[in-house]
Point group: C2
Chain length 543, copies 2
């Protein structure tokens, strides 16, 4: 019996392209025939669509192969973010999609699924998809992007390492073919640093344009509303300070941005510097600049790079993880790991929550996936180390021996543009059913949420003694909406006295002070000022 078939096949594949290769390097104009030589029908192919970075050149090339030669592919794409990611299925090149996030392509994806133009393997979180690359979705081919390569294939991923290392490792060590597009090829010995050894790389191509990169996490302070600021004040005082939260992650959005921007004003006035929020797992949000400059932050470990923060992260290497060359080293797999096990709190915003506290960002006609939030936004029972904040969450242990819980904070307005945000049943329930999903696409489970913050107050769900009380607590901070009827004024009073609900008054917060004056920076321009000119506003945020 033959036990090294994969190694032989790898040689065979590379042999078929060898006439177009000079060492590991191929010419850009040969990328399509090279792919037609090394990608076999029915292969599993990883394509680097990340949150921020896109292997644009390679995704376009793969969408240009002849479907008579390459077809039936199972695509593994962390973030489905470009037209050609889905063109692959329309053209008959690919058949099955496994992904974590779909963002911009979520509407088209839902439509294509309905029209039977593709089969969805599974929708994952990032970390789950990486895990399966090592188990039952081992790739045959991997298409990724880096900043530079040298002639031996050593890679400098640059500022935005993101998903690249784990995608490459899973492929390279199971005899898959690793193909990398780079912005530049340099001689041996002159790479600023090596992020991935050349040994792991088979084919390098200099793309005709640099890979695409987006500033996904940047939020313009000018767009933060006063309700965000009030909720931020309550969160800082009623959650971060109350429990002594030292390490945390903020999801994307204006709610987190408001907190980040009032730490050095409101937080400072409460004397909280050094007592909360010292260690972060976070993309390099520019909104963090004032807090960093004022000495609030000890460390930030990043998932990816955020456009515009290149020079700032390099100049603040005491805070950020950087290489000897000075450039940020991000790593989504490790940051998701840090966000899972290394921090006490995850804070996210949502648009819809059911009466048990389940929330979802899935809305009608979109199949947007999960990204990383469910991984960071759940209480892992695999954790065994303790911290004061974590321990405090086991207020009602019953007979359980579990020592603590991660703090999972969900922020939402009690009502929004489309009516009530608290609903008896999530839209996701019907959407999941219609899309034929195996389970309801919930972003964060009610079982895991410890705090719900609305513009009315904080519901301390970790203190709820039953599912019904969970509902009542949310009702107490959504008065004037249907779920509010579950908590009469007398009940609200009782819950406030019991410390299970806190309104601004209970926290000694004057809502009239929740104005933009509290924002340490009121615009992106002011962030540039705070940074001493190191932060550069991305083009997409310029008029």
């Amino acid at each position: 019996m033959e036990w090294n078939v994969q190694k032989m096949k790898k040689q065979e594949r590379l042999q078929r392209a060898s006439h177009m290769m000079r060492g590991k390097i191929i010419q850009a104009e040969n990328i399509v025939p090279v792919l037609e030589s090394v990608v076999y029908p029915n292969d599993r192919v990883v394509l680097e669509g990340d949150n921020q970075k896109q292997a644009t050149f390679l995704s376009q090339a793969l969408a240009s192969v002849d479907p008579a030669i390459v077809h039936g592919l199972t695509m593994l794409i962390p973030a489905v973010s470009r037209e050609e990611h889905l063109d692959l299925f329309e053209k008959g090149i690919a058949r099955e999609l496994n992904f974590a996030f779909a963002g911009m392509q979520s509407v088209r994806l839902a439509k294509m699924l309905e029209d039977n133009q593709l089969k969805i393997g599974s929708i994952h979180t990032y970390l789950e998809l990486y895990a399966r690359l090592l188990v039952d979705l081992i790739p045959n081919v991997c298409l990724v992007a880096a900043e530079m390569a040298d002639e031996d294939g050593n890679l400098f991923t640059g500022y935005s390492t993101e998903d690249t290392p784990i995608l490459v490792e899973a492929t390279a060590f199971k005899d898959g073919i690793v193909i990398v597009q780079v912005n530049d090829i340099v001689e041996k010995g002159v790479l600023p640093r090596v992020d991935i050894p050349g040994d792991w790389v088979d084919i390098v191509v200099r793309s005709d344009e640099p890979y695409q990169m987006e500033a996904l996490f940047t939020r313009d302070p000018a767009k933060i509303r006063e309700s965000h600021i009030l909720m931020a004040m309550m969160t800082i005082k009623g959650i971060y300070a109350k429990h002594g939260v030292m390490s945390l992650n903020h999801g994307i959005g204006y709610n987190g941005a408001a907190i980040e921007l009032i730490l050095p004003t409101y937080g400072e006035s409460l004397g909280l510097k050094g007592k909360i929020c010292r260690h972060w797992v976070l993309n390099p949000h520019p909104m963090m600049i004032p807090a960093i400059e004022k000495g609030w932050v000890e460390s930030i470990y990043a998932f990816g790079g955020e456009k515009g923060m290149e020079k700032y992260t390099e100049a603040r290497s005491d805070i950020f993880f950087t290489g000897n060359d000075g450039t940020l080293r991000s790593n989504r797999a490790y940051a998701q790991l840090a966000g899972l096990y290394g921090i006490d709190l995850f804070l996210g915003a949502t648009l819809q929550m059911d009466y048990l506290g389940n929330s979802s960002t899935v809305t009608s006609g979109r199949l947007s996936g999960f990204g990383g939030a469910p991984n960071m936004g759940h209480n892992t029972r695999g954790r065994r180390h303790s911290s004061p904040a974590w321990k405090e969450m086991m207020a009602n242990p019953g007979r359980s021996l579990i020592g603590g819980k991660k703090l999972i904070v969900q922020m939402l307005s009690s009502s929004g543009r489309f009516g009530n945000n608290f609903v008896p049943e999530l839209d996701a329930v019907e959407i999941g059913r219609n899309a034929g999903l195996d389970s309801v696409p919930v972003m964060v489970y009610g079982e895991d949420v410890t705090h719900v913050v609305t513009e009315q107050g904080i519901a301390y769900l970790y203190l709820a003694e039953s599912e019904d009380e969970r509902t009542t607590l949310m009702g107490a901070v959504a008065q004037g909406t249907p779920i509010g009827d579950m908590a009469s004024p007398a009940v609200v009073e009782r819950l406030r006295k019991a410390g299970k609900v806190a309104l601004p008054d209970d926290l000694d917060i004057d809502p009239a002070l929740a104005t933009k004056d509290l924002l340490a920076a009121k615009s992106l321009d002011e962030l540039v000022e705070w940074s001493g000119g190191l932060y550069e506003i991305p083009d997409s945020f310029k008029k």
Copy 2:
């Protein structure tokens, strides 16, 4: 304000040792003065004690520094496994210990804690400790072991990569000093492969002896008892086949070994090949050889290397992850990740379980820590992809939207050498209290256990509708012991009919057939035969 202090300090540290460095290389006899130059008082120091691999030379050197120069260290040691790991504390070089597993040193560690000779930061699982290296336990210095380095510091970790990559990455990209002991230093360009780029490495030393390595997971088939075999038969038929388990991990021990060794005999007779157990996250257990040779296994992703399996893994590269050089590439951080999110089932054995299903291997006088089991042995609610086995575990969802559960199987005899194995309160409760731990050192929480297997039968805990019923189900398979009194014969009958408990008879298993004849190999020698001479019995297993 100065924002690159860590980078400057790193240069300062290296400068102090520069007269002993030729490029990155130092002589073995200079290791103690080099450590005295680059390690500063109160540093956080990672020391590579892994499960299998030990940076022996560096741990001995660190224990030899002058405590007047180097003291107050916080040690970060995944596995505390050598005398000198604890000598550091007796000598006043180190003060605080953060670790995941203590194995051989667990008795001495408990004693030293009692005598106030060290402070325990936290006891972690492996993955948690790695996570905190990126958040609030960022190392200043990292001491690791590899097989070979070249003159630029590029590392070939060889067969047992284990924890090295993540320990190095966390240190190298936050301006810490990375020091590596290697068995050999070679010229540029001749390393079999590069596992870690030289850019990430500051100091390389060739140790006087190769690093220590143990065959921790090997179990001699000759020591497997018939009760193990009966439990293995029930597990295969009543769990793996019943739920269609495709991907899994086995903990260390004879219970897992028995399953591995009867897959190609008993499993084959049931026609299960290809229908269960195709993808594994597992060290290269030699006990897997017969199953591999008979075509049961598609892939195995390994935490570390298991001594004796070097040639076999290389010759079976279709199954194992290997480099272009042919050698196994293991990676504990990624394997723990795969074990967390990429598999359907974790199976472990335990010595003691309480009436709620909590189990612990912590016994009196030992502080052995957790290793990796709690990470793999819990139901992560961060998972969003589905599988048939996972989905089946949500038999009683109530109002919950959660779509599935990981299968967590715990095996134990109903009674053992020291009396009953099911106890009203775990010994760990009092031990944790006496050691001043923040929470009870439970290995696997009862809330997470889906199946308990004893020599009497299987309790399907995932079907329990209350905490009390969980107890009754365990009682049904521990008749004749105190917990057995919780399930009268009539109750047992009812539970068998309801499918909540299965005895051998219910599974159509004849206990008389549970003999050693079912083992595909009855000794390590027979495993060598199965492997065609590729497997080499480690010295520690030879008389």
